[in-house]
């Protein structure tokens, strides 16, 4: 990159590579997880650490400019819209009675905010 200090460029590429790593890990998780709900957990790695590191790295490339501000808006969008979409998806799946594969169902036992019991 022209005009970019080597150290900033290196940090930027480190962040971009880290972001790529977590994005790929999320993808691997999507394939390896057994069913719908567990796959959603894998996808959340991609849109938190993956997107976060990628956008941070791109911000360093853009420098102190309007582009950086727009990237910041992009992160904010992920931050606020992401969980809403995830929640809507999971709730829709429950409404459709797609049964979650569970190792343990604590809905009955735990009580609302009760003490975790040693079972």
């Amino acid at each position: 990159m022209s005009g970019l200090p080597v150290i900033v460029d290196a940090a930027s590429w480190l962040l971009i590579l880290l972001g790529s790593f977590f994005t790929v890990v999320g993808g691997i998780g999507l394939v390896r997880m057994p069913e719908f709900y567990t796959r959603m957990h894998a996808a959340s790695v991609t849109d938190t650490l993956g997107a976060g590191f990628l956008v941070l790295g791109l911000m360093l490339q853009a420098g102190f400019s309007l582009v950086t501000l727009k990237l910041l808006f992009l992160l904010a969008l992920f931050f606020f819209a992401g969980p809403v979409v995830t929640h809507a998806l999971a709730q829709a799946a429950l409404h459709e009675r797609i049964p979650p594969l569970l190792a343990e169902d604590r809905r009955g036992k735990a009580g609302a905010g009760g003490e975790p019991e040693g079972s």
Binding site: I28, M40, H41, L49, F73, T86, A103, R106
Partner: protein, 157 residues
């Protein structure tokens, strides 16, 4: 007051996205921002729930804490995904949200969903149904650490 603040935010957002600074365009942006804020008031989205500016002081400490929590649990989920035997133990549980306002409960529910490994799948009143990838994640939430952190955040208003 909230309408003025909403108009201010919208105008700043417009300025940031536009990048063209001529008198005509800036005036057009200002008019649009004001119109949107008025429509927002009419639709009742410019209230303490839709535009919670009174929480700004809490966000300064809450969001950095949340980002750190997200990073920690994303790393935990990453290790599970890459583990050869895929040691998952999916668990459903219910947790109580101790917040008083709807914005507070929504913040808690969204924070649970944002941290990888736990997803809020249902909200009714102050009771959240949570799906966790690992049993430990569910038990952590039942312990109420994040709940009390969000309640403190809500109380900074």
């Amino acid at each position: 007051m909230r309408v003025v603040s909403l108009a201010g935010f919208l105008f700043a957002f417009w300025l940031a996205l536009s990048g063209h600074y001529t008198l005509l365009l800036i005036a057009a942006g200002a008019v649009c921002a004001m119109l949107c804020a008025l429509v927002g008031r009419h639709m009742r989205v410019a209230d303490h729930e839709g535009h919670p500016i009174h929480l700004w002081r809490g966000t300064l400490t809450y969001y950095p804490w949340l980002v750190w929590e997200i990073a920690k649990s994303a790393w935990a989920v990453t290790k599970v995904i890459l583990h050869p035997r895929l040691p998952i133990s999916p668990t459903m549980t219910v947790v109580r949200a101790g917040q008083r306002s709807t914005a507070g409960v929504a913040t808690y529910a969204n924070s649970i969903t944002l941290t990888p490994g736990t997803i809020t799948v249902g909200v009714s009143g102050n009771t959240l149904t949570v799906h966790a990838l690992m049993r430990e994640g569910a038990i952590d939430l039942e312990g109420g650490g994040m709940d009390s952190r969000v309640t403190r955040f809500e109380a900074t208003a």
